[in-house]
Amino acid sequence: MASAISNTVLDIDRIRAEFPILHRETQLGAPIIYLDSAATSQKPRQVIDIMSRYYEQQNANIHRGIHRLAEEATQSFEEARNKIAHFINANSSKEVIFTRNTTEAINLVAYSWGRANLQAGDMLLLTEMEHHSNLVPWQMLAAEKDLHLEFIPVTDEGLLDWTAFEHFLLREPRLVAFTHMSNVLGTINPAAEMVSLAHQAGALVLIDGAQSAPHLKVDMQTIGADFYAFSAHKMCGPTGIGVLYGREKLLASMPPFLGGGDMIRRVHLRSFTPNELPHKFEAGTPAIAEAIGLGAAVDFLESVGLEKIHQHEQLIVSYALERLEEIPGVVVYGPRPEKKGGVVSFKLDGVHPHDVAQLLDTVGIAVRAGHHCAMPLHERFHLPATTRASFYLYTMEQEIDRLVEGLYKVKEIFS
């Protein structure tokens, strides 16, 4: 069934067999063509099942329990943390803090590190291609603390303006925060290089890894970031859980963020002593089943291989660019395939992206239309919105073909 490109790197049928939703017949009598993985990925059977099994066999609250279920649950939960530490090559599982999602992870840094360490006049360096999750927390902090925000511009090609970056570094930002991969342009930023320059300039670095951790091998030792944030739901894992990686010393030096059970060592009526890492930053009952689900997702991704997933997506995105650009009136944003991941945002002349998405939906193709939580980037390109097709390890070239056919039909209807 699957054809040449799709099978070059991965055994695509075998992979797709793991994802129940890809086989669900829609009202149209055929399975959905899901090209919206940058918003959230689909989930393989083993991730779904491990969470059901947890609730059916192990469910208990963790950490403080002595009975068997509590011990099993605690062990499964902490094993999941270890898997994630290993997945990103952290030095220790203490560097892996569970949050709800990327957004909360970034807010944690802004509230805890930011409020304790920044002063009026300090500069934070962001980029024009950030997701709102890596903008708004800093805007809120800047308003509170009277900080300067600066933004590395994005070139017409969809890359960061390197000269401007170096120029801003001369002004000694306290923090450089940028996305590893743009969720609109697909641009993969040279993270390790940027970290190294930023560190030379005396800044800490936070990387928004929401789009990279699912698709690339990310190695904390090679990249060298101080903080790295990502979400389970975009990497074959469940909703409700994300990760903040932070360097141990740095995390240890930071004040707590949320207060409550588990994050304390000792509590009196008027004072408390915080717990050790990672618990210091995990207040209240955590997302236990979800952590275990994320552990299974990481196992799944590693069993396929992140390098292979990336290679597969490179083939798919090259093919997609080639096919889309042959459609008259289509303009694709973002860099050439070598510099990007599996995300293609485009406009179709004379048709609003929402109309494109809706018409594609009527033929069973799921793409996203809008600003993709990156309004400033759309302003930069003078676009109210774009249509975005995004890919993952289960995307096949036939799906791209169907997308292209669909776009021809949309053109016809609006012609």
Binding site: H352, Q358, V363, M375, F414
Partner: protein
């Protein structure tokens, strides 16, 4: 594929009947839907009995937002303001002749929201149209 975007929507989008501005006008309001960048302005003239004598819209956005504005503005000429207040989501959907999910509903209803905000204040429309 064509069912949804029935002739009327594409047709109104490409060849609107009510596009324009009225200057002077008795009522005017403009709003947008930041999610998709749809923007609609509606101008209205009324006579001494609050009957709408002329109306026009201007804006940009998706076919559904623009077609619904064109249809809505056409439908109100000759009505009085009380009748405008009574207009509902269902009236718009009936004019468009299609069903819509929650996101597109906002596109379809933007013009009604703008119209109501212009004739009796924004505070009174948020509730039912979002």
């Amino acid at each position: 594929m064509d069912d949804l975007y029935r002739e009327v929507i594409i047709d109104r989008y490409k060849n609107p009947l009510m596009r324009g501005t009225l200057d002077p006008h008795d009522y005017s309001y403009e709003d947008d839907n930041p999610l998709c960048g749809d923007r609609i302005r509606i101008d209205v003239r009324v006579d001494s009995e609050n009957k709408i004598t002329e109306a026009a819209y201007n804006g940009e956005g998706c076919a559904i937002s623009q077609a619904s504005a064109d249809l809505l503005v056409e439908s109100i000429v000759g009505k009085n303001l009380d009748e405008v207040k009574a207009l509902t989501k269902e009236d718009i959907l009936e004019m468009l002749g299609i069903e819509l999910g929650p996101v597109r509903l906002k596109c379809a209803l933007l013009s009604l929201k703008v119209l109501k905000a212009s004739v009796y204040g924004l505070e009174n429309v948020e509730e039912e149209l979002t």
